[in-house]
Symmetry: C2
Subunit: 196 residues, 2 copies
């Protein structure tokens, strides 16, 4: 019997991504976002939700573009710092000793040090409540050659992305591989229904 624990944002895991923007004065900024996810395959899109109070919120509205950086678990300290400081007061690139790189694809910067970056142009803005969701079309993905596999795809074991636990408010690494899609579950469905 399950226990009711109230109306709370307790789905897990959430990602830990770095949203890169230029503010109205042209300054590069990053913020950490976990209320986010891929939201469409074609056009390829990613959604990220921000509070209106953040410095990045106005920046996305002004430039209609952002980047999504996927930091490695070796960058967990930077990701946490970037989530606590405001770009209105602090140059977070400088504080992390990171280099802002202008995207060639959209009007937003990313950190050279982050292994995987999605370059997004703003497609939809959905006001939900405390958070507003920005849906960005992924116009290109840039990756460090060191994190690519033999087929040229980012290897999750090399990227080593972070996972966020919204219940315990902590950062986690990615664990062991458990299996491949359309393979792991192939023994199911041959029972009462007579196969797939």
């Amino acid at each position: 019997m399950k226990r009711s624990i109230g109306a709370r944002t307790l789905a897990m895991p959430a990602p830990v991504w770095l949203v890169g923007t230029y503010d109205r004065d042209g300054r590069s900024n990053l913020m950490t976002a976990s209320w986010a996810g891929i939201c469409c395959s074609q056009p390829p899109c990613v959604a990220v939700s921000l509070r209106q109070a953040t410095h990045s919120f106005a920046a996305i509205q002004a430039r209609r573009a952002f980047t999504i950086g996927v930091p490695s678990q070796a960058q967990a300290r930077e990701a946490d710092f970037i989530g606590t400081a405001s770009g209105a007061q602090v140059d977070k690139f400088a504080a992390c000793a990171w280099t802002p790189v202008p995207s060639q694809a959209v009007d937003a910067p990313y950190a050279a040090e982050v292994p995987l970056v999605l370059e997004c142009r703003l497609l939809h803005t959905l006001e939900i409540g405390l958070h507003t969701q920005f849906v960005g079309e992924i116009v290109d993905v840039k990756a460090d050659p060191a994190v690519l596999d033999a087929e040229g795809r980012p290897d999750i074991r090399k990227v080593q992305p972070l996972a966020w636990d919204p219940a315990g408010q902590g950062y986690f690494g990615i664990g062991s591989p458990l299996g491949k899609a359309h393979d792991l579950g192939r023994d199911f469905g041959a029972g009462p229904q007579g196969g797939r």
Copy 2:
């Protein structure tokens, strides 16, 4: 120097969640979704994107409700099967030997066997492209007492949720804890900017 690898949905990690619905005939169904994420704190909301061709798509539109089940890594085989079969042809609850439980909060079912469940009423529908995004307000969360910590919150190390790798198309567990929010990065920002 980063390499351009094209406009692809390569942000990671993505979640592995089970969307529970009643179809128009009142049959319980589940589908696996990874194009999903938390999208607002207040009201607490979760977004999940489905292709119009799925059986669950019409079900969410008809009942304006769904559940999000967070399966454990011990249920990775079931999650993969649920992502490959269609509820139009197969009773996935029966194939998994899982029990559908009617939500007390919304007009949708969930699997008794899944440790953590969010009960959602449809708040927004955003047509993006191949996928349409459904934003659901989380009206309650139900959890197995066995996965709760001393404060009554779901413990990610007990839930053992799955992570999805959209590049390698594989399932992963959650790895080691790396630190807590607003703590891990506290040594940054005391440099050139003179403190936070």
